[in-house]
């Protein structure tokens, strides 16, 4: 057993899915079978993914805990590490530390309606929870997914969007921002918050998860409030810059909360009590 809390496990990239021009999903399997067997996590947790020689970056685990034997991460090319990760090929070995942070309380959503709202690459953490819920579908009441992206080209997990669209036990609405549609686009055009108001899901016995760009979250939370969702019913994940993921390096804090330890999942009620440092 290592005493080095910064030591990553080695994982092999077993599949790479091209999600959009600059977004890839990597499927990863532990090189060490014992590590694989010992590993478990909960939906919403994150890890430190590293490409050796380039460094570490913080990403949520995008695959659900209900699927064992592998994890997935979805990464957008934006810096030194993410560029290396998006260029990774099957067979490459990368580092992983985790799981870290808290999780979506999916168990407490049982026998309730579940509403998932995501924007852009914000679908990655939500996807983890979506599959978690869908893999145990009988435990939950209605499942609604509202997903928006700036353009058609920015939509990720397209194959899964099709799967969800085909399911009778899932209501899926996909939208792109005005101007982001293509001639053959058959989904909706419009912003997520307005679409949400139009669909007006009932807040009474529901849990909502909302992830996406800050501006979308802001207006989505307003909309949910108007629809009668209490702030305690609404969850989101924050992604402040982190280095250690372990509550040591001192950069992800919002007030005296460490996003890496007290988050990344927060309720809208917690969010409202926080200062604007995310």
């Amino acid at each position: 057993m290592t005493t080095n809390i910064y030591k990553p496990s080695l994982m092999t990239v077993t599949a790479v899915t091209e999600e959009s021009a600059d977004v890839r999903t990597l499927r990863l399997e532990f090189c060490d079978a014992r590590e694989r067997d010992a590993f478990s996590f909960r939906a919403g947790q994150f890890g430190e993914f590293s490409f050796f020689g380039e460094g570490e970056c913080t990403l949520c685990i995008a695959s659900p805990p209900t699927r064992r034997g592998y994890i997935e991460c979805t990464v957008r090319k934006s810096g030194r590490v993410t560029a290396a990760l998006t260029n990774a090929e099957p067979g490459d070995v990368i580092g992983f530390r985790g799981p870290y942070g808290n999780a979506f309380p999916v168990d407490t959503w049982q026998a309730r309606d579940v509403l998932f709202i995501a924007g852009g690459i914000g679908l990655a953490p939500v996807r983890c929870a979506i599959w978690n819920v869908l893999d145990l579908r009988h435990r939950y009441e209605s499942v609604t997914i509202i997903y928006g992206a700036r353009t058609v080209g920015d939509l990720i997990y397209r194959r899964e969007l099709e799967q969800w669209a085909e399911r009778s036990d899932v209501r899926l609405v996909v939208t792109v921002d005005p101007g982001g549609e293509t001639p053959d686009w058959r989904g909706r055009v419009g912003l997520v918050p307005s679409l949400l108001k139009e669909l007006s899901p009932a807040g009474g016995n529901a849990a909502a998860v909302a992830c996406g760009p800050p501006i979308m979250i802001k207006f989505t939370l307003f909309a949910l409030h108007e629809l009668g969702f209490t702030p305690e019913q609404v969850y989101t994940t924050l992604e402040n810059r982190m280095k250690c993921g372990l509550g040591k390096c001192g950069r992800c804090n919002i007030g005296s909360l460490y996003v890496c330890k007290d988050g990344p999942v927060f309720t809208a009620a917690q969010l409202a009590a926080m200062h604007d440092e995310y």
């Binding site: 460094g55 810096g79 030194r80 560029a83």
Partner: protein, 276 residues
């Protein structure tokens, strides 16, 4: 002198010629001075100028927080004026956005408020009265002493100095001419300069800092003064100033507020003797 300075500051603020004054105030620690930004005429009495007023206030001219305030009038020592001139030359500061409350210290150590106000007047003053401090014979003595040593000794000397660097970047942050919004030391694609405070990273950083100021450094000495590790950074800056002077027709930075920056240009007659 201080009454005149405060009077001038009040004037600039009340007439609206300047939205703020960057100057010096007495610091909480006795005998020291600290930069101060004032926007109200009644605060002009807090301004001071004496031997402990060392910061190069031109460093504030490019800060977003200061730019937001509007036209700046700065209490400026010759080195500060020179730095502001380089900033103008490099199009970082619009000449009309800066007013000078120019001050100097006479050879006898007396602080004076200069009558010169416009940049043309101040340039004339600098050219006539203020030779570049970094090129003074006395200042170059320790450079020459080091040049005379063997390369191994120089290597050892600088390694000892750089080994103390903790990469706090105080040298960069106080420098009026280190204004890049993202310094090459903070870039990582590619990572030209390792961020670690080990010998290799520290050498790369200190060489880079010095060279990026070649032909631009006005010799105010703030980097060396700010360095918490006591690295003699001015020795590098002076060496470069000297080589630039000797190689490029006596060039000294900050004696022009327009025209081409030294390393933005070239001459077919530049030194060629070191090429095979």
């Amino acid at each position: 002198m201080i009454d005149q300075l405060r009077q001038r500051a009040r004037e600039l603020l009340t007439t609206g010629e300047a939205a703020c004054i960057i100057g010096y105030a007495d610091a909480s620690v006795p005998g020291k001075a600290t930069p101060i930004v004032i926007t109200r005429a009644e605060d002009a009495d807090r301004l001071v100028f004496h031997a402990a007023c060392c910061n190069n206030l031109a460093a504030y001219l490019t800060r977003p927080e200061i730019r937001k305030l509007g036209t700046v009038a700065m209490v400026a020592k010759p080195a500060d004026v020179r730095a502001a001139f380089v900033l103008m030359q490099e199009n970082q500061v619009r000449p009309d956005d800066v007013k000078f409350i120019a001050v100097d210290v006479t050879p006898a150590g007396e602080c004076t408020l200069l009558a010169q106000r416009t940049r043309e007047e101040l340039l004339d003053y600098l050219v006539k009265n203020v030779p570049p401090a970094e090129l003074a014979d006395d200042a170059l003595k320790d450079v020459a002493a080091l040049e005379e040593q063997k390369d191994g000794e120089r290597w050892h000397y600088w390694q000892q100095q750089f080994s103390r660097c903790i990469r706090c970047y105080a040298c960069r942050q106080v420098c009026p001419l280190c204004y890049c919004s993202r310094c090459v030391a903070d870039k990582n694609r590619p990572q030209w300069i390792e961020t670690s405070a080990h010998g290799r990273g520290n050498l790369a950083w200190n060489i880079t800092r010095a060279f990026h100021l070649a032909g631009r450094c006005v010799g105010c000495g703030e980097c060396e003064r700010a360095c918490p590790a006591g690295i003699p950074l001015m020795k590098l800056n002076r060496k470069l100033a000297k080589d630039v002077r000797d190689s490029f027709g006596g060039h000294a930075a900050g004696y022009a507020f327009s025209g081409e920056q030294l390393f933005a240009g070239y001459s077919p007659s530049d030194p060629n003797d070191f090429f095979e």
